[in-house]
Subunit: 229 residues, 2 copies
């Protein structure tokens, strides 16, 4: 009998790459899924592919979709400015993409069903995150409920597909420590919203990442145009 299969939502960033490492350490055969959804830059897809190759995945599914035609986010609409990093703000920032995690998990569920996978890994994180509602534990719990009523696998065969969120209770520091312990290929990842040749070091995502590495006492191996003092 082969390994159990797992679909892993892979953006090419720190969190999803650590999820790949966790899923592998738990004995899964990895089936990463990524999305070209009209985001500002393709750099994260190049990173995702590199991570998938690093783990020798049989297949890396890339879903193509024009989510930018829905609009409403600085990540998919160039007319909306990217917010400059401010980790203390309390409102949901302009980088929020309406229903993104719901859409991504829905595709992952269909893919898991076709593959016969028992698990979907998603690197959501409710502590050090950007304030998006669809990263919270309650969102995942409710998605699990709807998943259990959606698939033919669950309805006809009682075969549930479980949403696994190994990072949900971790700080960014702890994610870096976990990834390092599991030898996640941090050098292949990218987290920057701006998507330049080097990470900007200024957006929310860069700030969160750099703070996590600093607190973990680990050197972030990727290049930055600017590192905070």
């Amino acid at each position: 009998m082969g390994k159990k299969r797992a679909v892993v939502l892979l953006s090419g960033g720190l969190d999803s790459t650590t999820c790949m490492a966790v899923a592998q350490s738990e004995g899964c055969e990895l089936f990463p899924i990524s999305f070209r959804y009209g985001q500002r830059h393709a750099k994260e897809l190049i990173a995702a592919r590199a991570v998938a190759d690093y783990y020798n995945c049989e297949r890396h599914l890339v879903i193509e979709t024009n989510m930018e035609d829905i609009g409403g986010s600085a990540l998919t609409d160039h007319r909306i400015d990217l917010p400059v990093g401010d980790l203390e703000r309390t409102e949901i920032p302009a980088t929020y993409v309406p229903a993104r995690n719901l859409i991504f998990l829905s595709y992952a569920l269909g893919y898991a069903e076709v593959l016969g996978a028992a698990e979907i890994y998603i690197g959501v994180n409710a502590l050090d995150y950007s304030g998006y509602p669809d990263c919270r534990p309650e969102f995942i719990r409710l998605f699990q409920q709807v998943a259990d009523y959606t698939t033919k696998a669950a309805v006809e065969e009682g075969r549930r597909i479980i949403i696994k969120t190994p990072l949900i209770g971790l700080t960014k520091k702890e994610i870096v420590q976990l990834g390092q312990k599991l030898q996640a290929p941090f050098h292949l990842t990218t987290s920057c919203y701006a998507g330049g040749p080097e990470a900007c070091g200024r957006c929310d995502s860069c700030l969160l990442r750099l703070r996590g590495f600093a607190e973990a006492g680990v050197v972030d191996p990727i290049k930055y145009a600017r590192r905070p003092e």
Copy 2:
């Protein structure tokens, strides 16, 4: 103040077109959303566009996505045969597309949020349907729960987006009667899975439609290659 806005999932078939008529009769400004998801034929998108034009919609959003790369359905994979119509079968048929309604509703939710729409209409139907799990009331109820935890609109402003299923408790006969009363443009619709120049009259979808019209005592205005005796 303008009319309230509603997103309507529009496939160009009998049910979703009747949903357009219902939403209009309830005073909504209609924002139809359709999907080019690797289905066998584009005929339903042509029908959807004609229905959107009939209702003078300001915009008809077509989401493009390679769901066929997920596979697992006769509707998106030409290597899987379309089942010949059998309305008495009990298992879920090969035309089931894994997680399709979940994916479609998730996009509709993001779109509704961006538009400031308060409602999403979907023409699911739990009586005369093809046995898909994601057409059942419980699925819709659970999706509503997750929707209430997903959007920035709901989380920050308490502005819920309601999933409306006006056809869920109707038979096909009653749907035909409702659509006729509301002058839904049945002549523009298509329901056939096969997608030929005329409806095949043999697939599940044609059989359900024809039975509905016959029981309602209404003549189906579209052309069929063959009508059952």
